[in-house]
Amino acid sequence: MSDGRLRVFLVDDHAMFRAGVRAELGVHVDVVGEASTVAEAVAQIGVLVPDVVLLDVHMPDGGGRAVLEAIRRSHPAVRFLALSVSDAAEDVIGLIRAGARGYVTKTISPDELAAAIRRVADGDAVFSPRLAGFVLDAFAARPDAPVADPELDQLTNREREVLRLLARGYAYKEIAKELFISIKTVETHVSNVLRKLQMSNRYELSRWAADRRLV
């Protein structure tokens, strides 16, 4: 858990953006290192073993996904939060399915980013409103879509409600208040949705992934 300050590693090919994030996050967490290429990132993360890696989606040589795959095999405890200017469905879904525990856009405020890092470090999931919308769309009940595994391929009503509130811009605390449940329960629901997003073989998810040759 987050007893000392969290150790965070930055991977982004834009030096200006790294400097900005480092300055903004400095008060909340320890930025232990940064990298601008996939190879550099893989080498340094292996040595430093940070709690959370902030990962840019779009980079040369395979992008954030290449880093994720290289590190997850050797250091499964390192958690990833994807960070991108793009909010395109296939980018988001691709990174999440590769193992990232959350996705936020680069326009996020420093406080929110720090909160998201903490949440990911604690093993929870972080969904931007738009990602919540994508998931609702992808898991929409369609009569023509056969459900192979109901446990993985469908959302429960409660999960759907939580996602709707996330998409409406509600914070976890506000969702908990709205649904008369605890914040911990909200987090559990979101983590379950993340697991389904990573494991499900629903057609829409596979298609997004296949479009980018991510499977």
Partner: protein, 385 residues
């Protein structure tokens, strides 16, 4: 007429006629007779006859005349000579059309538009093929004639013609075999040229977009660097434009609900220099009632932008088979519904009243200091989603 006169001069006229016939088609195929010049500007202009091209034919003709003079005038040998000339002319056509040099020379001298170039290329390709087939036919006719007239048993008619046709077929196949690689290479070159032109076109489009939009915005941002609001508005508008350009499938705001909502959100962003975080799940075609829902949503966003004193407004819409819901939420100052609702026309008329008129429902939740959420719901028929 001159040719008829020349015909008297023992074959020379016929030979020349054949030569001119071989040279001339280059023009009429490219520009059909009677087409006034300039009607189809994309097409290459007809080339003037190149005297150098006549040389091989003149050489052939001279050779034939020499052969004829050696063998004696008239009779069978003269006919044979003419037929050989016909074959030579046919082969000449094929050789002539597939020569890469000719192809390069007939390239349109001026840069033409992409669409025009494609049309031009298509035309040229067709005419190339036609001329190739024509040349082959001429060669075949010549060979058949020779076989029929000078074959071993020229007495019997039909089998000999059949024989000749077979022979011609073999001959044509041979010619095709010889010409095929050249032809294939020509087509390959044309194809790659067209692809290059398309790429060039795309690059030009991107350059134009960057120039008109991005550079322009950057210049404006530099000029209004002191005005934070203006800079934010410019940056957001540009970001949205680039995003649409990169990712969005084009949906018309007058047809699709999601596109209409996104357009309304963009308008509010531009007018009030705030950010509207838009999430739309599902989509359906816009009808009059959905249009009203979009208008009410727009009003709710405008209210949030004007009164909530926040930078960000959340817009969430979900299209379900039997219901469309929209949520506009801000974390701003909020207000006490009982005190302001009477004189706020925006809320009463444009949101609640409008939704009621179209059989929908509007619900407003607000508390001072807690922000505001406007919830709009409209039940719809299930026909399509």
């Amino acid at each position: 007429m001159a040719f008829v006169v020349l015909l008297a001069l023992n074959g020379l006229g016929a030979l020349l006629y054949a030569i001119f016939w071989a040279i001339l088609p280059v023009e009429p195929v490219l520009v059909p007779p009677g087409t006034p010049p300039g009607v189809v500007p994309a097409r290459p202009k007809p080339k003037r006859r190149d005297p150098a091209k006549l040389l091989p034919f003149l050489a052939i003709g001279a050779g034939l005349l020499l052969a004829q003079s050696l063998a004696g005038w008239g009779g069978i040998n003269a006919i044979l000579g003419w037929l050989i000339a016909v074959i030579a002319v046919g082969a000449g056509i094929i050789w002539h059309q597939t020569s890469p040099e000719w192809r390069r020379r007939s390239e349109p001298p001026e840069r033409v538009g992409w669409a025009g170039a494609v049309v031009g290329l298509g035309d040229r390709r067709t005419s190339l093929l036609l001329r190739f087939l024509g040349g082959t036919a001429v060669v075949a006719v010549g060979i058949i004639s020779i076989v029929v007239l000078f074959g071993p048993n020229s007495k019997s008619g039909f089998p000999v013609i059949l024989n000749g046709a077979l022979l011609a077929l073999v001959g044509s196949a041979g010619v095709a075999l010889v010409a095929a690689p050249v032809l294939w290479r020509t087509f390959g070159q044309l194809r790659s040229e067209r692809e290059a032109r398309i790429r060039e076109q795309e690059r030009a489009e991107l350059a134009a977009m960057v120039h008109d939009q991005v550079l322009h915005t950057l210049a404006l941002i530099q000029r209004s660097a002191g005005d934070t609001k203006a800079v934010q508005r410019l940056a957001r508008g540009q970001e949205r434009m680039l995003r649409n350009w990169l990712y969005k499938p084009t949906g018309s705001p007058t047809e699709q609900f999601a596109a209409a909502l996104e357009e309304a959100a963009a308008e509010v962003e531009d007018t009030y220099a705030i950010q509207v975080e838009t999430v739309v799940v599902g989509d359906r075609e816009v009808d009059e009632r959905l249009g009203a829902l979009v208008a009410a949503t727009r009003e709710a966003m405008v209210n949030a932008a004007r009164h909530a004193k926040v930078q960000t407004v959340s817009l969430y819409a979900e299209v379900e088979p039997e219901q469309v819901s929209v949520f506009v939420r801000d974390r701003g100052t909020g207000f006490d519904l009982s005190t302001v609702e009477d004189h706020r026309h925006g809320v009463r008329g444009s949101i609640i009243g409008r939704m009621r008129r179209h059989g929908g429902k509007a619900e407003i939740r607000s508390e001072p200091g807690e922000g505001t959420e406007v919830r709009l719901t409209l039940s719809v028929s299930k026909e399509e989603s």
